[in-house]
Symmetry: C2
Subunit: 192 residues, 2 copies
């Protein structure tokens, strides 16, 4: 791939995304990113004027990734319950990284709240995107009235699992809880 301006910009965002996830936003300095990308710190400012700008670009990138993931689940899962199962199983798919670094959405949100960062709401859109998609699946299951509540419940369960799996560096716990979440889904669908 040729090193056009756009390509380098993309590379910076990819690297920053990963570093923000592994080490947190505050801990990730311009030096760290530019070193990982392989350009000088000075050159860096040609592409991004402030650290906040990189953050917004990273959030934007993650929004795209989440949207693509949801689109894929729409194709993969024929029935809404299958699609919800795709969401639940992502904890299993990413269990190694979750054990090491937690949930990328949850840990970023937690960090930005403490920073009182102005991009808090922007980062929350990642949660909102998934929440709305889950809600749509529950509506398709005929749970229109409780759809949003059920969506939030699943989101919260996932966040809690990620937080504890990360704290205790415990993969087995994820497997166990995913199983229980699937059982919860079964019994919720059957109700009424």
């Amino acid at each position: 791939m040729v090193d056009t301006k756009e390509n380098i910009r993309e590379k910076i965002i990819t690297v920053a995304d990963d570093l923000f996830y592994r080490n947190g936003y505050v801990q990730t300095s311009f030096s760290t990113i530019s070193e990982a990308v392989g350009i000088s710190r000075g050159n860096f400012y040609y592409h991004f004027k402030t650290k906040d700008e990189i953050l917004d670009a990273v959030i934007n990138r993650r929004m795209g990734n989440v949207q693509r993931m949801l689109d894929q689940w729409e194709t993969e899962g024929k029935k809404p319950e299958d699609r919800i199962r795709c969401f639940i199983n992502i904890l299993l798919m990413n269990k190694v990284k979750i054990k090491q670094f937690g949930c990328p959405i949850g840990t970023l949100s937690t960090e930005l709240v403490k920073l009182e960062h102005e991009s808090q709401e922007e980062a929350n859109k990642l949660f909102t995107l998934i929440r709305g998609w889950l809600r749509d699946q529950f509506i398709a299951l005929g749970k229109k009235k409780e759809a949003d509540e059920l969506a939030m419940h699943l989101l919260a369960r996932s966040q809690g699992i990620a937080t504890l799996a990360n704290a205790f560096h415990d993969e087995k716990f994820i497997k166990n809880e995913v199983k229980q979440m699937n059982e919860w889904l079964e019994s919720t669908i059957k109700k009424q």
Copy 2:
């Protein structure tokens, strides 16, 4: 109260505890703490040589607070299920602060993991203390085999609720989920 060396040390720990909770560990500087305590930055180093030392003192303080809380629940709740309900209800008791700053134990743990901080394990003892206590309650309920699993499940649910309530700044969500957790407890006790 007289300003003995011990008293000032205690005051520093109390102030640091609060600031770590509200703004995070990294964000809280010596200046911020000393200013809040009302002593000069230079004097500060007479009481604590490094920031890590303050962190350990804060974790230690929190350990004491959690232990006292568990002791109180032992007195308050006659039956183990009542004691577990004390744990569940703490989300409601602290709902305003959780909405604003999340769970003090969970957010510290998340931050220390990203920092790769050496006190990670020390901070995890806060989780472990509650986990063990919950496990004891489930054992008293005759659930010896699944006791630890049930304890972790409750811990994870609480963490997830705190994370999302914090992200969305939503108190109502806490109320809703606490109700569901109590219902889950009822049906879990009844099983078998």
